[in-house]
Every structure is written in structure tokens, then in C-alpha cells.
């Protein structure tokens, strides 16, 4: 085949450009550590990488939601614990007051102590968490329970916020997985409504008033009533404990998912360093060889040998 001078130059330039293109491609992969630098490097892989990134991001959000919910539930659990302690003290006082040998003055002392417990219980019922009323449901910037007092300042009634405090506050802790993280105020303190048998405040008010009136007939039944109240709290406490465990397992699961997503993303997107280095060296050697041979061939001409 005839070889014209333009052919030699054109072919050499084409080869050099191709090699240089590959060398700079691998060089760039090495410096970014990424196999897919733009969608056309692997169109399918680029789409997958985007979906994994979304998975990682949503996973982070679910972890944040779950941790937020956990914080709230663990705080609630502490409050339930102290309410149980409070009710246990009320129980002891009720047992003490139920003793026939006590005088009216003795019972008045116990009444004062019970009244203090009642004030404490109201304040627990209006506990704030992050500046919001913990048992206030959606209406968490108003007191969950308000009290009515008599002329001497004694609490005569405790009423739940009429706007409602039992709404379930939820956290999304997985795709499509929403879990309630609060306990409704009335469910906990007045499950059958204000003034009913199960009203925790009512139990203490009755005990206190029984002591003030020195009326053992009123005091006696409160021992069982307070025990029922303790059981009522313990039911919510164990439910909450189970929910906290569930959140912990979910957080572990989310942690594993995060690792899987990150691994998958890396598999799709990251360059295999060893392979890339090898390819880079190989292309560079080829480029240098093309340069060296090209530089020699392109200079050769009959003209150089003519006198």
C-alpha cells in the first residue's frame, strides 16, 4: 500500500489522541476514586448510584427520627418511674391512715403529706420535654391538666385540656413504618374520664379528704384503689419498655442497612484502585511507546539521505 505523508501524520495523531484520552481517563479515576464520573461512564450504574444515595439519605433521616422518638420515650419512662414511686408512697400513707388507733390530728398530718403527693402528681402530669408538655398530645404548648382549688388552696379537681391530649405522636422509623412515641395524658391519668374510679388524681383527693375528715371508711377502699393505679401505670410502663426495645432493634437494623447501602454504592461507583492503577500504567506505557516510535518514523524521509 502506498503511504502518503498526510496518512503518516494523521494516523500518528489519531493513535496519540486515543492513548492520551485513555491515560487521562484513568488518571482522573485515580484522583477522584470514582469509576462513574459522569452518567455516560455507566448509565445504568449512575441510576443505581442515585438510588443508593437516596437510600442512605432516607436511612439517616429514619435514624434521626428513631433517636428523637427514643429520647422522648426514655424520658417518659423516667417520669412513669417517678409516678410509680409517688403512688407507692401514697400506698404506704393509705395503709398508715387505715390504722384505727390514729387520732384526727395524726390523720391531718398524713393528709398534708398526701396533698403534697397530689401536687407532685399534677406537676408530673404537666412535665415538659424540650419546652413542650409531655402528656399534652398535639396540644403540647398548653398545660395538659389544670386544677381547681377550694378556698384553702386545696386541689378539688384536675381536668384534662379540653382540646384533647391523647393524639398519637408518630415518628417514621423506616419506609412506611410509623410508630407512636407518646402516651396520651388521659389514657395514663384518667382512662375512664375525670372523677371516675380510675382517675389517679381522684384517688389521692379521696384519700386526702378521708384523712382530713378523719373518716376511716373512706380511707380503707383507697388502698386497693391506689394499687389499681400502680398497675395502670405499670401497664403503660411495660408497653413503653417494649416500644423502646423495638426502636433499639430498628436502629440496629437501620445501621446494618446503612452499611449495605454504602457498600452497594461503593461497588457501583468506586474505582477498583489496583485494576485502575494497572490499566493506567499500561496505557501510559502504550502512549510513551507511540510517542517514541512516532517521533522516529515521522522524521524519516528520503530527503535526509540525499546529498
Amino acid at each position: 500500500m502506498r503511504i502518503s505523508d498526510q496518512m503518516r501524520v494523521r494516523s500518528l495523531l489519531y493513535q496519540l489522541e486515543n492513548h492520551l484520552d485513555s491515560v487521562s481517563k484513568y488518571q482522573s479515576q485515580l484522583s477522584t476514586g470514582k469509576r462513574i464520573e459522569e452518567p455516560s461512564d455507566d448509565a445504568f450504574g449512575a441510576g443505581k448510584a442515585l438510588r443508593y444515595r437516596h437510600g442512605i439519605k432516607m436511612n439517616e433521616q429514619h435514624v434521626r427520627n428513631a433517636e428523637d422518638g427514643m429520647g422522648r420515650m426514655q424520658y417518659s419512662d423516667g417520669i412513669l418511674q417517678s409516678i410509680t414511686n409517688l403512688m407507692n408512697q401514697a400506698m404506704s400513707l393509705a395503709v398508715a391512715a387505715d390504722n384505727d388507733t390514729l387520732t384526727a390530728a395524726d390523720r391531718q398530718v398524713i393528709a398534708n403529706e398526701v396533698d403534697q403527693l397530689l401536687e407532685d402528681l399534677v406537676s408530673k402530669a404537666n412535665t415538659q420535654y424540650n419546652g413542650k408538655y409531655l402528656f399534652g398530645g398535639f396540644n403540647d404548648n398548653a398545660e395538659a391538666f389544670t386544677v381547681t382549688r377550694d378556698g384553702q388552696g386545696l386541689i378539688t379537681a384536675v381536668s384534662a385540656n379540653p382540646d384533647g391530649i391523647d393524639q398519637e405522636i408518630k415518628r417514621e422509623i423506616g419506609v412506611g413504618l410509623k410508630e407512636t412515641v407518646n402516651i396520651g395524658g388521659t389514657l395514663l391519668f384518667q382512662p375512664d374520664g375525670e372523677g371516675a374510679e380510675s382517675d389517679l388524681f381522684r384517688k389521692l383527693i379521696t384519700l386526702r379528704d378521708g384523712c382530713i375528715n378523719n373518716d376511716p371508711d373512706a380511707i380503707g377502699p383507697q388502698i386497693d384503689a391506689i394499687q389499681d393505679g400502680i398497675d395502670q401505670i405499670s401497664y403503660h410502663s411495660s408497653t413503653l419498655g417494649a416500644k423502646v426495645n423495638f426502636f433499639q432493634r430498628q436502629l440496629e437494623q437501620l445501621g446494618m442497612d446503612a452499611v449495605n447501602y454504602t457498600d452497594s454504592l461503593s461497588n457501583v461507583e468506586d474505582a477498583d484502585l489496583i485494576e485502575t492503577v494497572m490499566m493506567y500504567e499500561q496505557e501510559q506505557a502504550a502512549y510513551e511507546a507511540a510517542l517514541a516510535s512516532g517521533a522516529t518514523i515521522i522524521q524519516m524521509s528520503l530527503i535526509n539521505f540525499m546529498g
Binding site: 500500500m1 502506498r2 503511504i3 502518503s4 505523508d5 498526510q6 496518512m7 494523521r10 494516523s11 489519531y14 462513574i36 459522569e38 452518567p39 455516560s40 461512564d41 455507566d42 448509565a43 445504568f44 449512575a46 441510576g47 443505581k48 448510584a49 442515585l50 438510588r51 444515595r53 437516596h54 439519605k57 432516607m58 439517616e60 433521616q61 434521626r64 427520627n65 428523637d68 424540650n130 413542650k132 399534652g136 398530645g137 398535639f138 396540644n139 403540647d140 404548648n141 382540646d163 384533647g164 393524639q167 405522636i169 408518630k170 415518628r171 417514621e172 419506609v175 412506611g176 410509623k178 461507583e269 524521509s301 528520503l302 530527503i303 540525499m306
Partner: protein, 461 residues
């Protein structure tokens, strides 16, 4: 004429022939790097012989028969076919590359991340619906999301406009080439009418035909008078010394104003099925439109779903029925956060009721992140966006591959043609020495004839 003078004549012819050969070689060497130049050859032959009665015929030396150029019409056709393919893929590939660069994916900086940040902001609001800080973060992210989509739309639109401007400028190039080719047709016809080979004129015309093929796929037919006819999709474009003018006509595709290539006079569309024009029009009329439609679908779905939930929810101030995104604009170019939200963060409807701690609506909007809202309920918004990026990547990937293939084939074709038509300096040098030797020998012949005459003249003294 059988005497010493005929010997002198043979010598003179040989000197002239070899000098002309060296002139042709000189022309080749001078044009070794001229684009479109075909090497020329002076074909020499023995001059007509003289009858020598009783002896047969005696030669009368050498003469140049004609000067031809080395050219292969079949290779020209292959080169031009490949130029049309290469032009098409180069044009489309460059533009698709630009569109791909607009999407800075996959990375931490792309729109996918902006979208995820938007969902996360709703998630954070659900965790603390009364926190004004979280609402402020959501507002910033929503503004950025809209800005990104607006930018994508206007950037792609600008690429379309650039492509359209190039269609007009390529149309002007075609008209110029047509005028030049028609003019060369005339000159070649006149020159060859008088029996000459119009080598250099033909080279010029061939180069123009190459350039023409790069812009648009043409059919070329050679006429007996040395002229060529050019057809575009079956319609005559250039006929001998005459040509038709191309012009553009305003039209629109999906609301985008474009210029269509039409024949002047009839205003019928010109068939474009190859060349740079094809690639650019394919991008302008198909690729860019497809991608913009996908982004518009995405934006409209996002707006409708977020607004639908948002309007049913309550703001911190008890407001209801307010849309989160403006509801009077459409598409990726129009998406915008409702000024009512921008001006008052309390209008963000996180609640399903007026209760301030109600997070139901924020939870519902955050859950849109993984709701299958697109493509007939089979894709989430994020999946749709990822598929759009894949779509852009796949188009760029295939145009890039076609381009690389065309480049390789084109180089092969051009080299094949160059093997026939290109100048080899080695070859010219060797020929130069050959003809120089012949020239020297012929000069000695003349000198010998001269000596012979001197000898004869001296005989008479």
C-alpha cells in the same frame, strides 16, 4: 527528416518532457499538505514514429500525453458517507455531553441530594413541628430545589437555542457551498470542453463536496460534461451551474420555537438524514425535548402531591388551604415556592389539625419521598429522577460510541483515499532523481548532436 537535426529534435523533446515531469513533481511537493489536493501525474509516451522505407519505423522521442490526478470515485463516496455519519454523531454527542454536564451526577452536589434534603427537612419538622428553625431550613431547601429545576430547564433550553442558531448558520454554509460548487461546475465544464483535465478545479470541488457531506447527507451524480448534480433526499439541490437556495421557516415543538430547514420558494421541508445538521436537529427536536418533558413531569407531580397534602393541613397560625408551591405555574421552569410560605413560616402546614404539636401532615409529606407517584404508580420521584439521569447518560453513551466508531472508520477511509491520492515525498524524491537523470542524459544527447554538427561543418574546411 532523417538527419542530425532529428537527433537534436529528439534531444530537445526529451529535455522538455523531463523538465515538465519535474514541474509536475514540484507541484506535488508544493501541495503535499494542501487539503483536498490529489497528486498529479504527467503521462508520457513515445512520440509518433517515422517511416523508414525498407527499415521499418524510427522513433522520434518522447512526449507528454496528459496530466491526470490520482483519484478513486468509489473511495470518495465512502469517505463522504462516513463524513455524514461522523458529522451527525459529533454534533449530537457534543450537545448531549453539555446536557450531561448540567446534571452534576452522580455526586454529593447533584439534584438528587437537593431532593433528599427537601424530604429530610419535612422529616425534621415532623420531629418538632413547632420549631421555627426547622421550618426555616425547609424554606431554604425548597427554594434551592426550585432554583435547581428552573436552572436545569433554562440551561437545556439554552442548549436548544444554541442548536437552533447553529442550524441557521449551517444553512448559510450550505448555500455558500452550493454557490461555489455551481460556479466550479461551470468552470470545469468550460475547461474540459477544450479537452483539458481541470485537475485543480476538480480538487477544489471535491473538497467542497466533502465539506458539504459533513453538514448534510447528499447524493452526488456525475454528468458527462464534468459537472455534478447534488440531491438532498431526492430533490435536486445543485444542477450544473444552477442551485436552489435553502432557507428556514419558524415552527414550534412542544412550545419551543425552532427554525425548520426548508426550500426557498416552496417552503417544503428539506429531508435531513445525515450530517452535522441531522445530529443537531436530533438533539434540538428529540433529546432536549424528551429530557425537558421528563423534568416537567417530575416538577408537576412533585407540586401536585405536595400541594395536595399541604392544602389539607394546618399551619402553626391555624391557616388552611395554602399551597406550598405556587399553583399557577407549571413545569420545571415554573416551579416556585408560594410567596405566602416564603413570607410567613407559620403557614407551613405540618399539622392535620389546628393543634400546634400535630405533625401528621409533615409525616405525610415526608413519606412522599418513597411513594410511587410517577410513571403510572411504579416509580418514586427519586427513582424517576435517577431514571432521567440514566436516560441522559445512556444517550450520551451511545452517541459517544457511534462517534468513536465513525472516527475510526472515517480515518480508515480517509487513509485509503490518501493512499491513492496523497503525496508521498519519498516517491516524489525518487521520481525527481529519475527525471533529473533523464534530463541530464537528454542534455548530453543535445550536446552530442551539437558536436556531430560541428564535426560535419569542420569537414568542409
Amino acid at each position: 527528416m532523417n538527419n542530425i537535426f532529428s537527433l537534436l529534435e529528439v534531444g530537445k523533446r526529451a529535455v522538455q518532457t523531463n523538465r515538465l515531469q519535474m514541474q509536475v513533481i514540484g507541484h506535488n511537493i508544493a501541495n503535499a499538505d494542501t487539503e483536498g489536493y490529489s497528486r498529479q501525474r504527467a503521462n508520457q509516451k513515445a512520440a509518433s514514429a517515422m517511416d523508414m522505407p525498407g527499415l521499418g519505423q524510427a522513433g522520434t522521442g518522447v512526449m507528454i500525453q496528459e496530466i491526470t490526478r490520482a483519484r478513486d470515485i468509489l473511495l470518495d463516496r465512502q469517505v463522504r458517507n462516513e463524513k455524514s455519519a461522523l458529522g451527525r454523531w459529533e454534533g449530537q454527542d457534543d450537545l448531549l455531553n453539555s446536557i450531561q454536564n448540567i446534571f452534576t451526577e452522580p455526586s454529593e452536589l447533584g439534584f438528587g441530594n437537593v431532593l433528599d434534603e427537601f424530604w429530610s427537612a419535612w422529616g425534621d419538622i415532623a420531629n418538632d413541628p413547632e420549631d421555627i428553625g426547622g421550618r426555616s431550613v425547609l424554606r431554604q431547601r425548597a427554594v434551592m430545589l426550585c432554583q435547581n429545576l428552573n436552572d436545569y430547564d433554562s440551561d437545556i433550553k439554552m442548549l436548544q437555542e444554541n442548536a437552533n442558531a447553529e442550524v441557521i448558520s449551517l444553512k448559510n454554509n450550505l448555500n455558500q457551498y452550493a454557490a461555489q460548487i455551481a460556479d466550479l461546475n461551470k468552470k470545469i465544464q468550460i475547461a474540459e470542453n477544450s479537452g483539458q483535465n481541470a485537475n485543480d478545479l476538480r480538487d477544489q470541488r471535491d473538497l467542497l463536496l466533502d465539506n458539504l457531506s459533513e453538514i448534510i447527507k447528499v447524493k452526488i451524480s456525475d454528468n458527462n460534461d464534468g459537472t455534478v448534480n447534488i440531491y438532498l433526499g431526492g430533490e435536486i439541490f445543485i444542477q450544473g451551474g444552477e442551485y436552489r437556495t435553502l432557507t428556514t421557516k419558524l415552527s414550534s415543538i412542544n412550545g419551543v420555537v425552532i427554525d425548520e430547514l426548508v426550500w426557498d420558494g416552496t417552503y417544503n421541508n428539506v429531508v435531513v438524514d445525515g450530517g452535522r445538521l441531522k445530529g443537531i436537529m436530533q438533539f434540538r427536536d428529540v433529546d432536549a425535548i424528551d429530557i425537558r418533558n421528563r423534568l416537567d413531569d417530575f416538577a408537576d407531580t412533585l407540586v401536585n402531591n405536595v400541594n395536595g397534602l399541604h392544602q389539607g393541613g394546618y399551619g402553626l397560625n391555624g391557616s388552611m388551604g395554602i399551597s406550598f408551591f405556587r399553583s399557577d405555574t407549571t413545569g420545571a421552569g415554573g416551579i416556585e415556592v408560594n410567596p405566602n410560605i416564603l413570607n410567613d413560616l407559620n403557614n407551613i402546614a405540618a399539622g392535620g389539625s389546628e393543634a400546634p404539636g400535630d405533625n401528621e401532615n409533615a409525616l405525610a409529606i415526608a413519606a412522599l419521598a418513597d411513594a410511587k407517584l410517577m410513571n403510572g404508580g411504579t416509580q418514586t420521584l427519586n427513582e424517576h429522577y435517577a431514571a432521567t439521569v440514566s436516560e441522559v447518560g445512556a444517550r450520551k453513551e451511545s452517541s459517544g460510541l457511534y462517534r468513536e466508531q465513525s472516527e475510526a472508520v472515517h480515518l480508515q477511509m480517509v487513509n485509503d483515499r490518501s493512499a491513492v491520492s496523497g503525496v508521498s515525498l519519498d516517491e516524489e524524491m525518487a521520481d525527481l532523481i529519475k527525471f533529473q537523470q533523464s534530463f541530464n542524459a537528454a542534455a548530453i544527447l543535445v550536446s552530442t548532436a551539437n558536436e556531430l554538427m560541428t564535426t560535419i561543418i569542420n569537414l568542409g574546411k
